[in-house]
């Protein structure tokens, strides 16, 4: 490391370069207000905390809304599953009408209490209309 050798004429040239001195740049001002770093750090930390909090709040809110949609969708599908209309699908009924009309009548009769409005209840609209 320390074995670097220098030629004599390099030394002489260094001496010549030493005759030149860069001038001093203009003086720095005496009073400089140092910027405090910690208030900016606190502000940055606060901004990060606020944005994190907001994003978590939005994420939770969105999750709740999605859960509501899922519940509603489940209720709809359960209702569809229970619906008598599902039993009265068009294609099987058509086939049944072609093959066995009597069986079709029996099936429609059986399904009618659940498919048609009930006019036997006292406050049934159909019952009221039928009286008029």
């Amino acid at each position: 490391m320390g074995q670097w050798k220098m030629e004599n004429n390099d030394r002489k040239f260094e001496e010549y370069l030493g005759e030149f001195q860069p001038r001093k740049p203009r003086a720095l001002p005496e009073q400089i207000v140092r910027r405090q770093v910690w208030p900016r750090r606190i502000a940055a930390a606060a901004a990060i905390a606020i944005s994190l909090g907001a994003s978590m709040w939005f994420a939770r809110k969105k999750h709740e809304l999605n859960s509501g949609e899922v519940v509603a969708r489940n209720l709809t599908s359960m209702a569809e599953a229970k619906s008598p209309a599902r039993a009265l699908a068009l294609v099987p009924l058509t086939q049944l009408a072609l093959q066995d009309p009597e069986q079709l009548d029996a099936q429609l009769t059986a399904a009618s209490p659940t498919v048609l409005p009930d006019f036997r209840a006292s406050d049934s609209t159909l019952r009221v209309l039928a009286k008029e």
Partner: protein, 177 residues
């Protein structure tokens, strides 16, 4: 906590000690001495107004900061002070201002890494080992850069040399430093 901060005193000391050399260094990136002075001044103003952690190698740090600021200034073409074509970064002890301008021009024409080594050694007073540590390069590389730089400067300044010409023609004695 205050011990590892770059204090205003540290900054002012660095400015007094290395400001002139940094101007010579910055001059290689920007078109004139006034712009180089602006760059160095701005860098030290920023250092003064900010609370920074003391870098491991403060001299190397300010050289990097000046380099970056000078490159930015060159890109943006900013000039904060009026250009004086006669102004030079260097002053010659014997009053040869023509030679001072020639040195400034010759330094600006050196490759950046060679200019850095010459300026750090000649006008910041660093040893080649310190420069190697600051530049993060092997000592032999730094020594080669220094030699190449001296050779190029010698060729360009030959017309201005008087006092050392005779000595330079003497045989090549080698000395260990």
């Amino acid at each position: 906590m205050g011990a590892n901060k770059l204090s205003a005193e540290d900054v002012r000391r660095l400015y007094d000690q290395h400001g002139p050399a940094l101007m010579a260094y910055a001059r290689g990136f920007v078109p004139d001495a006034a712009a180089a002075e602006d760059v160095v001044h701005q860098v030290f103003l920023r250092l003064l107004s900010a609370e920074l952690t003391m870098p491991d190698a403060p001299v190397a740090y300010v050289y990097r900061a000046v380099r970056n600021a000078a490159l930015n200034a060159r890109r943006s073409g900013l000039r904060l002070t009026e250009l004086d074509p006669q102004s030079s970064v260097f002053r010659h002890r014997g009053g040869n201002q023509e030679a001072a301008l020639a040195l400034e021009k010759a330094l600006a024409e050196l490759p950046e890494e060679q200019r850095e080594v010459v300026v750090m050694r000649m006008w910041s007073g660093l040893t080649l080992e310190e420069i190697a540590a600051a530049a993060g390069a092997p000592l032999n590389t730094i020594a080669s850069r220094y030699r190449y730089a001296l050779e190029k400067l010698r060729v360009k300044l030959r017309p201005y040399e008087r006092s050392v010409n005779g000595a330079m023609e003497n045989g090549k004695q080698r000395q260990e430093i």
